[in-house]
Structures are given as structure tokens and as C-alpha cells.
């Protein structure tokens, strides 16, 4: 792996390297660190009558997090996002594996098909789902014409519709990182495993999955946290009936005009992200032990 050159003999990065890094550092400072610090400060502030932030210290925004209603919001958000992540892995892994192992000419086309949905606006696609799922919509019409159902199924504005919408939205974010790992998968490892009389299942569980696990963890990070913060799907497909964390945050910044409370919720999301990240990076490969 080291190609005969030990790390210590490589020239150490000089001060000029930092110059190259400068754009990145400035970017991170302006767009990541500064807003986060601001969010943190706001979360301890109050609001005035017009909803402007007043810099008077209060911990109320955090104590409000422990109200019963908020716990329901957190619990439900985690359940929805967790289920979305699980379904994305279930559906996305085989797809990513298939694409990654197919001949390179087909691969480009298949990859493009995964990304095609991004070519149109997300809101337009959400409305398209409304058209498909509504009581007099395409799906119900199709099933009725085949005489499979007599009464239209109640699909739109249900948790099922929300789950479907979330799965649809985040699936590409699971497929792409897993594909990345599958593509780099060394075929000789699989051959070696087969040569050593491992069953296909054993090969998968002990060789393929551990080698592609980094892709899965990246996928989890890309799906789980954004799914918690999603509000458009629950509004459009769920009829805004059940608020998830994203909806509550959005509401604080628009209708309720309570930025400090919204900031406190934002900090909670940040903590959730860190927790997910630590969990993913610590656990490593599930079957390596």
C-alpha cells in the first residue's frame, strides 16, 4: 500500500499549502461556522412584538423543547426519517449494486436515469404525486378500471403518502454513494471468497457488505438528517396534518415569527446530525467482528 515510500519521507506541507486551502477555509468560516454561531446565539434570545430578535438572555427556548407536544414531534420525526433511511437502503442497495456491476456502457445510462428526477423542480414532482395519489387520481382510476378496487383508496394526505414521498425524494441520495463503493469493489476479493468455498450469502455478508459499507454510511448521513428537516413533502402529500421537526422549524421562521425558538430547534437538528455521524463512524462494518 505504501509503495515503498514511508510517510515520513514525504515533504511536509509548507505554509504555502495553507494559501491553497484559504478559499476553502474562508468558505467554511462564512457559510458554516458563522451561521452556526449565529444560530447558537439566537437560540438564547427573545423576540419582540414584530418577531425581531432581541438580545436578552433566556433559556425558555430550550425548556420549551421538553413540552409533551415537542416530544411527539421529535419522536415522529425520528421514526419517519429512520423508516425512510431503512427503506432507502432496502431499495437502493440492490439498485446501486446492479448499476455498479453492469458493463460501463450501460452504467452511464442507468446512472443518468437515477439522476433524471433532479432535472425538474422538486415542487413540481410533489404536485405530480398529488395527481397520482388523489382520490380521483391516476392510481385510483387505473385500479378502478381494472376492477381491483370498488371504492377509491384513501392515499393522498396519509402517512403512506408521506413515506412514499420521502422515499422517492431521498432514494438517489442513497443509491449514488453506495454505487460509488460498489464500483470500486475489487472483483478478486469476491473470487477469493468463492475459491475458499464461501456460500454466496457468506460472500455477501463477510466480503461485499463490509467493503461497500462506507457507501451505506454516507447514504445514511445524506438521507436521515435531511429527512428529519424535510417540510415540503409533509405539507404537500401529508396535507400539513402531522408536523415533523422541519415543519415546526419552518413555522417558527415564517408564520410564528419566533426565530429564537426556531434556532433552538435548529441546534437540536445539528446535535442529531452529530449523533448520527458518530454512530455511523463508530460502528464501522456491522459484520467485521
Amino acid at each position: 500500500m505504501t509503495n515503498g515510500v514511508s510517510v515520513s519521507t514525504l515533504p511536509r506541507p509548507g505554509s504555502r499549502v495553507w494559501l491553497l486551502m484559504l478559499p476553502l477555509l474562508v468558505w467554511v468560516a462564512t457559510f458554516v461556522i458563522a451561521p452556526t454561531v449565529l444560530l447558537f446565539i439566537y437560540s438564547f434570545c427573545q423576540r419582540d412584538e414584530l418577531g425581531q430578535v432581541v438580545f436578552t438572555f433566556t433559556a425558555d427556548n430550550y425548556s420549551r423543547l421538553f413540552e409533551a407536544g415537542m416530544w411527539m414531534v421529535f419522536a415522529r420525526s425520528i421514526i419517519y426519517a429512520g423508516a425512510t433511511t431503512f427503506l432507502c437502503i432496502l431499495v437502493g442497495y440492490p439498485v446501486a449494486y446492479f448499476i455498479g456491476r453492469s458493463p460501463s456502457t450501460q452504467r452511464q445510462i442507468l446512472l443518468m436515469l437515477v439522476m433524471v428526477p433532479f432535472w425538474s423542480s422538486f415542487v413540481v414532482r410533489a404536485y405530480a404525486w398529488c395527481t397520482i395519489l388523489s382520490d380521483g387520481g391516476l392510481l385510483n382510476g387505473f385500479l378502478a378500471s381494472l376492477k381491483i378496487i370498488a371504492e377509491p383508496l384513501n392515499l393522498l394526505y396519509t402517512p403512506t403518502a408521506v413515506m412514499l414521498g420521502l422515499l422517492y425524494t431521498y432514494l438517489p441520495f442513497m443509491i449514488l454513494p453506495i454505487y460509488g463503493s460498489v464500483e470500486k469493489l475489487d472483483t478478486s476479493m469476491i473470487e477469493a471468497s468463492m475459491d475458499l468455498y464461501a456460500s454466496p450469502w457468506q460472500t455477501y455478508w463477510r466480503v461485499i457488505l463490509p467493503l461497500t459499507w462506507p457507501g451505506v454510511t454516507a447514504g445514511i448521513l445524506l438521507v436521515f438528517v435531511p429527512a428529519i428537516g424535510m417540510f415540503a413533502v409533509t405539507d404537500l402529500l401529508g396535507g400539513a396534518r402531522v408536523p415533523l421537526l422541519g415543519n415546526v422549524i419552518q413555522n417558527q421562521f415564517v408564520q410564528a415569527r419566533n426565530w429564537p425558538f426556531g434556532s433552538a430547534l435548529g441546534i437540536v437538528m445539528l446535535v442529531m446530525f452529530l449523533a448520527t455521524y458518530l454512530l455511523c463512524s463508530r460502528r464501522g462494518v456491522p459484520s467485521s467482528n
Partner: protein, 339 residues
């Protein structure tokens, strides 16, 4: 090289345009000022209109206060005018520059939120009421109590607006919708908790959609939406709730730091002209407070029960409730998340 020269020409064009012509910036609801009105004003006065669109009153306040850009004319509803005026964010109107103000009906002038119309002129008014799909719902519906009945479970769409919802419950209790305090909210809570279980969709942007495609049979919506449904199919009947309901007054006002106060007055006065105000009614069938414009409307427009409801109803405007707005929001969020 070609594209650089192209870009340069474009920039020059933009620069030359901006230098000569006067312009005003309008901060208004999306789809509320018809393009025809803007084109007509630009053509007549040579003043260019930039239209910055918002979707709700709260976004308007936010954009205005952020100070990122200056606006000449804004379009807040009644309780927002009161709030902005209290905080000295609005310019006092010069009525001598608004001769067309005389066209507004006296019942829409001098209202509690802006005595003497010091800061605002009514643009369009409307009500919040109940739409009934009479093909699906045969029983008569007179008010919120009839509507929020277990037999209509998951057939109801309502505005996704916490303050509105709380006001309906307060109306049912016979309480003042502008007296928001822990006591009145505690009384409203059990009623709202029952309602939340019956509602299928919350939608403020286009509540008519779920009614017109049949996902819901009953709704509590803006009267303009109801009027469009009635135009589409007369099975959609509009009912003003007998318990009383909200009459909103969407208005035009000038921020205190408006760059061009004269041009702003000019624009407001233009919108108050009967023939211009009629154009607004044609596209957005709310209740036109401009009585001279009403004379120009067709009989069909005037017969639309959602735009011009007949009969007596207890109508009330909203007043500024200050910080209580976040209590109202917390109440509804809690109920929704437990429901």
C-alpha cells in the same frame, strides 16, 4: 470574446434603462396584482414597477424589516398595518394625492385597525367562510358547529393558519377573537382538539384544489378561493358561519423609508380608479371595497355568493395581538402533533 462583448452590451442596456426611468418597488402577495394593472401603470406614467412577491403577511413583515431592499408600496392585511403603524414603520398618507380614495365605500373606511385611514387604503376585502360541495353533503351547514361534525371526518380542508383556526373556535365560544390570552386559549383548546381529528388537509395557498379534485367535500377557505370554485361549478356553495367570522382587509400602504413617496401615491391612486380596480376583481374575485368599480362588474360577478355574500353575518377584522401570536402557533402545533 464574443460573449464578453455581448455581456458588456447587456450591462450597458441595463444601466441605461435604470438611469433614465423612475421606478417603484412593490412588495405584494403573489398573484394579487394583475399584470394588466402593472403594465397600464407603467405605460401611463413611465414609472417602472418591480414586483416582489410574498405568500403571507409574516413574510411581508420579515422582508420589510430585514432592510435588504427598500419598498415603495406594500400590501399588508389589517392587523399587520396596525402592528407596523404602532412601530412607526409606515408613512402617513397624503390624502390630497389620493383623490380616488372617494371611490371606496364608507363601510371600508376608518376601520378600527387604521382610524382615519392615516396609513392605508383598502385594496380588496374578503371573508373566511365555509365551502360545501352540495353534491356530496346534503345536510344544511350553517356554521362551524355543523361543519366540524364526526360524520365529516377526513373530508374537511381548512386554512393552514393558526390564528384563523383559533379565531373560529373563539367565535364558537362567543369570545372576542382579538382577546388572545392564556384563559381564552385554554377555552379554545378542547374545541380545536376535536376539530383537528376531523381535518384531512391544511392548505392556505390553494385550498380550492382539494375541494375541486374531490379529496375533500367541505372547507374553510378564503372567499376568493370559494368564488373561483363557484365559477367552476355551482355545486360549491359558500356559507358565512353563523357564529361570526373574519373579514380581512388587504390594503396598500407606504413604508416610512420608501425611496419615492410621490410615485407610491401615484400607484395607489391608480389602483383606486374604478376601471383599474375592476381588472383586479376580474382576476381575483374577492369583495371589492371600491363601490365605483363594483358598478362596472357584470351581473354574474356580483351574483357570486362568495364575492358578495347576501344576508347578515357577524364580521370582524383582526387586530394586532403582539407576542401572543407565538402562543397561538404553539397551541395548534401541539394539537396537530398529538392528533
Amino acid at each position: 470574446m464574443k460573449w464578453i462583448s455581448c455581456l458588456a452590451v447587456c450591462l450597458l442596456l441595463i444601466a441605461s434603462c435604470d438611469k433614465g426611468a423612475k421606478s417603484i418597488t412593490l412588495l405584494a402577495w403573489s398573484e394579487y396584482v394583475p399584470q394588466k394593472v402593472i403594465d397600464g401603470f407603467e405605460k401611463e406614467t413611465g414609472i417602472k414597477v418591480h414586483y416582489d412577491a410574498i405568500d403571507n403577511n409574516e413574510a411581508l413583515v420579515q422582508k420589510l424589516l430585514s432592510g435588504a431592499s427598500k419598498y415603495d408600496v406594500i400590501q399588508p392585511s389589517e392587523y399587520i398595518i396596525e402592528q407596523l403603524a404602532k412601530l412607526n414603520k409606515l408613512a402617513v398618507l397624503d390624502h390630497s394625492k389620493l383623490p380616488n380614495l372617494k371611490n371606496i365605500g364608507s363601510q371600508y373606511m376608518d376601520m378600527p385597525h387604521d382610524r382615519g385611514n392615516k396609513y392605508s387604503v383598502p385594496y380588496m376585502t374578503g371573508t373566511v367562510g365555509i365551502v360545501v360541495n352540495t353534491e356530496k353533503v346534503k345536510e344544511p351547514i350553517h356554521g362551524y358547529r355543523d361543519l366540524f361534525h364526526p360524520k365529516y371526518t377526513k373530508r374537511i380542508v381548512v386554512l393552514n393558519d393558526a390564528r384563523e383556526m383559533v379565531s373560529w373556535a373563539l367565535n364558537c365560544l362567543g369570545l372576542d377573537v382579538n382577546e388572545i390570552n392564556p384563559r381564552s386559549l385554554a377555552k379554545a383548546k378542547p374545541i380545536l382538539a376535536d376539530w383537528v381529528r376531523l381535518i384531512r388537509v391544511y392548505d392556505s395557498d390553494s385550498p380550492k384544489t382539494s375541494l375541486s379534485n374531490g379529496d375533500c367535500d367541505l372547507g374553510v377557505v378564503w372567499s376568493g378561493e370559494a368564488a373561483k370554485l363557484w365559477e367552476e361549478n355551482q355545486k360549491f356553495v359558500y356559507v358565512l358561519p353563523e357564529e361570526g367570522t373574519h373579514m380581512f382587509v388587504d390594503s396598500l400602504a407606504i413604508p416610512v423609508d420608501a425611496p419615492d413617496v410621490d410615485a407610491a401615491h401615484q400607484f395607489i391612486n391608480y389602483c383606486l380608479r374604478p376601471e383599474i380596480s375592476k381588472l383586479i376583481s376580474d382576476e381575483f374575485p374577492y369583495t371589492n371595497p371600491n363601490l365605483q368599480a363594483r358598478k362596472l362588474l357584470s351581473q354574474k360577478q356580483l351574483d357570486n355568493p362568495a364575492s358578495y355574500p347576501k344576508g347578515e353575518a357577524k364580521l370582524g377584522t383582526f387586530r394586532d395581538i403582539g407576542k401572543a401570536s407565538s402562543d397561538v402557533d404553539a397551541l395548534i402545533t401541539n394539537l396537530k402533533s398529538q392528533g
